[in-house]
Symmetry: C2
Amino acid sequence: MRANELPEVRHLPLFRDMLQANFEQLMQGAYAQTFPTGVELIRQGDPADFLHIVIAGSVEMYAEWGGRTCTMAVVQPVGSFILAACIRDAPYLMSARTLEKSRLILVPSSDLRAVFRRDPEFAVSTITELAGAFRSVARHAKGLKLRTSRERVAAYLLKQSRQAGNVESFVLGVEKRLIASYLGMTPENLSRTLRQLEGEGIRVNGQQVTITDRHRLMAVAPPDPLIDGPDGPGAGVGMSLPPPSTASAKPREKVVSPTGFEPVTH
Amino acid sequence: MRANELPEVRHLPLFRDMLQANFEQLMQGAYAQTFPTGVELIRQGDPADFLHIVIAGSVEMYAEWGGRTCTMAVVQPVGSFILAACIRDAPYLMSARTLEKSRLILVPSSDLRAVFRRDPEFAVSTITELAGAFRSVARHAKGLKLRTSRERVAAYLLKQSRQAGNVESFVLGVEKRLIASYLGMTPENLSRTLRQLEGEGIRVNGQQVTITDRHRLMAVAPPDPLIDGPDGPGAGVGMSLPPPSTASAKPREKVVSPTGFEPVTH
DNA sequence: CGTCGACTTGAACACTTTCAAACAAAGTGG
DNA sequence: CCACTTTGTTTGAAAGTGTTCAAGTCGACG
């Protein structure tokens, strides 16, 4: 593991309050590894051996059933996933694969369980993290049940804009097919819905989205903190999103951009 | 609070391992209350002041957005809800109302947060509870995204049967409109789907459901522990369901029956 | 006995998916 | 550097799924 990676991990909400000695012990048993694009890191149903922390790159969490697949979340640096499975020593509910070349740290779940039993601060951090993760999935489920797909798309775009600092123009940052799956629809349906929303206050050009009439779009799907997540800083519940950046109107420009996917603690 | 209620609460997974002194302190600040049918106990968006524990009766957790409503879960004795909101000191994501005359215990969330900071066993129980709750909602979301409504209904019935002890006949135990909302569909759609499934191995008569051909039904929606929940005892993740009971073929009989709704920790 | 709410049924409508095809962009190898 | 392949996106048409509205049935309860 590289020296400059440790401080980043240490500053994660999950680890920042624990005793240095315990943190060091946790990292002792951990190891870092770099994976190429498209590697299946974990498969749903497998036993939860490691807590995974994304140091660089990005990881897709997805679920499968009867031949179908759907994206549940995208984890970006510095964020962790499958905490819950590790804690319950239960099989993973989701699979994970790298969306690009990515560097991860793997912490043995047995160490994890041992440490929060004797470090109260770490226990509290774990509780906070899990409570936040629970609320994220609950919000996701609410969105799926209470909103039509058109409304989900509108709300998603508004959230993206907000997370980038209420800019009017931004880059999606993830493939549309992946966004579609995350929002519970087919790529074709998303494509058509985006087209349809061009009459409701947005303009889409490839990955570039511009909100031309925010009020109009908000009329399609009024944002709700109880579904779209809280406003203000620290919104991503224990997940550090890359710094939001307004995106230039010129397409094809390389810009770091938020994905707006909810964090996953398993 | 009544004397015979405390032991029940004490035996909840959440409280069973903590120090007696701390448990008593928690209950000191708590109070019990009986509510009639249809009372709104909490409203989504309100600040989380109390952890709620259902001692008797049943409580519906539901969510609202833009005039629409959906059922997220039903909590039965002895089970708790809105743990996560209490922990994060955040607004409730869901509302709750009594489905029948119900008795609840309300524990101030500030006490809760204070106690798990100094009782490691309680902290661990809280962690386990939250991790389980997270996995429940995650499974629910997976079902919504990966299954059609027909498959969700079939899987729901199989799960009910399983939870009642793999019986061939059982009572639904909750209004169909509520089940429909829980499964993310309209009452009309559920009605038609049940009718349609009568050709696929079930027979429905009011609240009474009989599985006539388990294999046929399982072919419609193969059960998956990563969606429908684990097999075996303690399946309900921190929630004690009423003892499963085979239901007589005669309708209108008063039988305690499981609801099969996932537990909610907020 | 009458009222109310839950459940069912039918028909029309709206929304989504599926399948097929064309197109565009990014990466590969000559 | 240019074909060439691969993969993601868009579009159209048809089929499937789910919702809405309206009306009627049933059972529970006062």
